[in-house]
């Protein structure tokens, strides 16, 4: 298959060697797990357990609310200690509703009923089971996988793209998963193809992971529908839009969906989770997380129960050796800075990094833009980041939308190359926040206006009714006068 190219992109130092090739180890079970109710796009899950209740491993803790949502399951057996608020895995450090589970160390599974043959199930049933297992996009997008599968089947998607690009520096969890569990991933791909009723699948892996390419090729050899491809290593090759462009030369239309191009992109971790759900009836209660960075003495790839704290992971890897280190959830290009280590791992967490100031780059004060255009060259979406940031500074909200703010996917390539060290994505985030606030205000104003108009209409109706009633009364009282008046006309 001939590869195409995508525009822009950058080559940050990959620094994957820190953890690459380190076998997946299980994190010792923490005594307490913190499971946020909001780990996915859409509405938060609704708890179905009560404080003090004993739960088995894999038991339902909270069910989905609405279509775009996902249920949560107990990552281990134990007792529900509290349902309260806990620091969210977000830079704000704001608390989010969270189920707190005290583990008993028994790892006692709730009853499981795996289907005898997943391929005998209807595609709808497979998608339903993927949804019921709480599987969301494991690449960090956190979008419920079942919704994507159902919509894509209805849209007539012909090719499933399994994203093993892993273009973020440092992160090696997908690499290691492919190296060690390629057979399970291949099975998950077959199951997803069945759910999609699609004839083809591509496993796309950046060429800086030759071992993963080899392992996946071996595992997929028996299935003619699946092809394993090696991609050039360039950030952000693992972004769904750019991946589609690399594979087909097609672009997702602005405002459209990836499935418009006939392709559906899922992460390798999602395929693995689908295998676990359909073959063993295991919900998504753990994931592989890369713990790495210059301030981590022993970088590792860990299999971690959802709800373990970043502090647990870091402690297992030797702590944080530099007190100036910046803690991140995710990779350095798009990851969230963490307010502290007391933050839980969620389903979309691929990495916990502790980066030294040296790795982040010297803290340089932003200087004026010299219009060098490097951000324009780097933008994979073909935008003009310098012009966008200028509009954001000038609070020109119409102008910034006309320049395509909504097309920006916050990949950070522009800021990575900016010689003036201008924090471009922060300007865009600011603009998005202001625009959202503006929309809310407008909505409120419209609603107020509607209510005012309705009130006015009601008054007028009442006045009219009164006037009519009065007229009728008058007519009833003085029928003769009315006749006389009519005669006079």
């Amino acid at each position: 298959m001939r590869l195409h190219d995508f525009r822009g992109g950058v080559h940050p130092p990959s620094r994957k060697h820190l953890s690459a090739g380190r076998p997946i180890e299980s994190l010792p079970l923490p005594s307490r797990l913190h499971i946020p109710l909001q780990q996915h796009a859409g509405a938060p899950a609704l708890p179905v357990v009560t404080v003090g209740q004993q739960v088995g491993k894999g038991e339902l803790l909270a069910r989905e609310q609405g279509v775009t949502s996902a249920p949560l399951h107990a990552p281990s057996s134990g007792r529900i200690a509290a349902i309260g608020e806990f620091t969210a895995p977000h830079a704000s450090g704001l608390p989010l509703p969270t189920i707190i589970l005290d583990t008993d160390g028994e790892e006692r599974w709730a009853e499981r009923e795996p289907p005898a043959d997943p391929f005998a199930l209807s595609p709808e049933e497979v998608a339903h089971r993927v949804g019921a297992a709480g599987i969301v996009g494991m690449g960090g997008a956190n979008f419920p996988a079942a919704v994507k599968l159902s919509k894509a089947r209805q849209a007539g998607v012909h090719t499933l793209v399994i994203n093993g690009a892993e273009c973020e520096p440092y992160v090696t969890c997908d690499d290691q998963l492919m190296r060690e569990r390629a057979g399970e991933i291949a099975d998950g791909i077959a199951i997803m193809l069945h759910a999609l009723q699609a004839p083809h699948a591509v496993v796309a892996i950046e060429n800086n992971k030759p071992e993963a390419v080899e392992a996946m090729s071996d595992a997929c050899r028996h299935d003619a529908r699946i092809e394993v491809l090696s991609l050039p290593s360039r950030y952000p090759a693992g972004s769904a839009k750019q991946l589609i462009q690399l594979l087909t030369g097609l672009e997702t239309p602005a405002g459209g969906r990836g499935t418009d191009t006939g392709l559906l992109v899922h992460n390798v971790g999602t395929a693995y989770a689908a295998h676990r759900a359909l073959r063993h009836d295991r919900p998504l209660i753990s994931r592989i997380v890369t713990v790495s960075g210059g301030a981590v003495p022993e970088p590792r790839n860990l299999e971690v129960p959802i709800g373990a704290l970043a502090a647990d992971l870091l402690a297992y890897c030797g702590g944080v050796s530099d007190e100036r280190a910046r803690l991140l959830m995710g990779g350095p290009m798009m990851g969230q800075p963490l307010p502290g280590p007391q933050v839980p791992v969620i389903k979309g967490t691929n990495g916990i990094l502790a980066l030294t100031p040296d790795e982040i780059g010297e803290a340089v004060e932003p200087s004026p833009c010299i219009r060098c255009g490097r951000c324009v060259d780097a933008c994979p979406m073909g935008l003009l980041p310098l012009e966008l940031s200028k509009r954001a500074r000038g609070e020109d909200w119409e102008g910034i939308q006309a320049l395509g703010l909504n097309d920006c996917m916050s990949c950070g390539s522009c800021a990575y190359v900016c010689p003036s060290h201008i924090p471009l994505p922060q300007y865009f985030a600011y603009a998005r926040g202001m625009l959202a606030a503006q929309r809310r205000e407008e909505q409120k104003a419209r609603r107020t206006r509607e209510l005012m108009e309705q009130r006015q209409a009601r008054f007028e109706r009442q006045e009219r009714a009164k006037a009519e009633a009065a007229a009728q009364r008058r007519a009833a009282k003085k029928p003769r006068t009315a006749v006389l008046e009519a005669d006079e006309d």
Partner: protein, 373 residues
């Protein structure tokens, strides 16, 4: 952890910064500058020292007036670069006040009045050169033939300062027109190129810089070398130099073929004047050139065409400064109309329809399995 925990993504940066970029440009022009000192001696060095010093002082003064931090503004290297580029575009034995007025004008009127680094519309050094040329035509067209340090005719340190300070008339005996100027004058007297050029112009000598001209415009090969290094170092992109040199090459070749006695050959054009310096070091100034690659090509071609027009039919023998300043004025327009096509959109900004081939899997042909419809 530390306070910067709250800084946003990306948490990585490549190593380039504005001072590093400016430093790279200065490094790239250093060989040609040093060669210029060799050819024109102490007065050339004095002139460069004056433009740089006055440029930096004016920059600091303006930042102080504006109440902005002085150190980072002066240390970003942009005023230093402006001073050097201005000196390179002046007659090497120009008196001190030409350099001082030029540098002051470049930094104050050319840059700081617009709001400082990144805000100016015109290339400050070229704007200053144009101003000087229009205001002081005699001093700005007093060219001298090279007097290398080793030739024995070069002025000593003291004589150098006397020339710079305008107390010496040594220049009278050694001046001569540039090739472009000479060609223009002679063509005006209805001489043909066949009569004009022999004895005055040799391509080899021109390339080596053994000709009269501005401090930095004579050593074409060193300028070219520096420019190529900047390309390799990715400080500049190829679009503007190729557009500019290509346009001059095409026009000069075409007209030369039409009438070789009237129009000089393309090699003379490429190796004369400040075309090479302009194409690699001046037109490529990021602040005053377009940001999109296609816009940069348009800009470069525009510069090249204007240079050729001014050289051939205009009122001045050389037109790089005019061409660059004119195209600088067109940059906002170019940037407005020429933008990259956004992903998933047509050139007009509408959502880009998916072509029919999307109905078939990119794998369909190979594996022999038909797509569903």
């Amino acid at each position: 952890m530390s306070a910067n925990s709250f800084a946003g993504a990306p948490h990585a940066h490549d190593r380039d910064s504005v001072p590093r970029l400016m430093g790279a440009v200065l490094l790239a022009i250093l060989p040609a500058t040093v060669y210029g000192f060799f050819l024109f001696g102490w007065p050339a060095f004095n002139l460069l020292a004056i433009t740089v010093l006055v440029g930096l002082l004016c920059e600091a003064g303006c930042l102080w007036l504006a109440g902005r931090p002085i150190r980072p503004g002066v240390m970003d290297g942009s005023a230093l670069l402006t001073g050097v580029l201005l000196a390179l575009s002046l007659p090497p034995w120009a008196p001190w006040w030409i350099g001082a007025i030029g540098a002051g004008f470049a930094v104050v009127v050319g840059k700081q009045v617009f709001g400082g680094t990144g805000q100016n519309i015109f290339n400050p050094a070229m704007l200053a050169r144009v101003m000087l040329l229009v205001s002081f035509p005699v001093e700005m067209t007093t060219w001298l033939t090279p007097h290398p340090w080793w030739s024995g005719t070069a002025p000593g340190w003291l004589d150098g300062w006397l020339i710079t300070l305008g107390y010496s008339t040594a220049t009278d005996g050694v001046t001569g027109a540039t090739i472009l100027g000479h060609v223009r004058t002679e063509l005006g007297m209805n001489h043909s190129l066949g009569q004009i050029l022999p004895g005055h112009y040799q391509a080899g000598a021109a390339a080596l810089g053994w000709t009269g001209g501005s401090l930095g415009e004579t050593a074409e090969w060193l300028v070219l070398l520096g420019g190529l290094w900047l390309l390799r170092r990715r400080v500049i992109t190829w679009h503007i130099p190729v557009g500019m040199l290509g346009a001059v090459l095409v026009l000069a070749s075409g007209f030369h073929l039409l009438d070789p006695q009237r129009f000089a050959d393309p090699v003379l054009h490429l190796l004369s004047g400040s075309l090479m310096l302009g194409a690699f070091f001046i037109a490529t100034d990021p602040v005053t050139s377009p940001i999109a690659p296609l816009g940069q090509i348009v800009f470069g071609v525009g510069c090249g065409v204007l240079v050729y027009i001014i050289r051939t039919w205009g009122g001045y023998p050389e037109g790089v400064a005019f061409a660059v300043v004119l195209m600088n004025a067109a940059t906002p327009l170019i940037d407005h109309y020429i933008r990259p096509r956004a992903y998933g959109r047509t050139w007009s900004g509408k959502p880009r329809p998916v072509p029919a081939r999307a109905k078939q899997s990119p794998l369909a042909r190979k594996s022999g399995v038909d797509a569903r419809d």
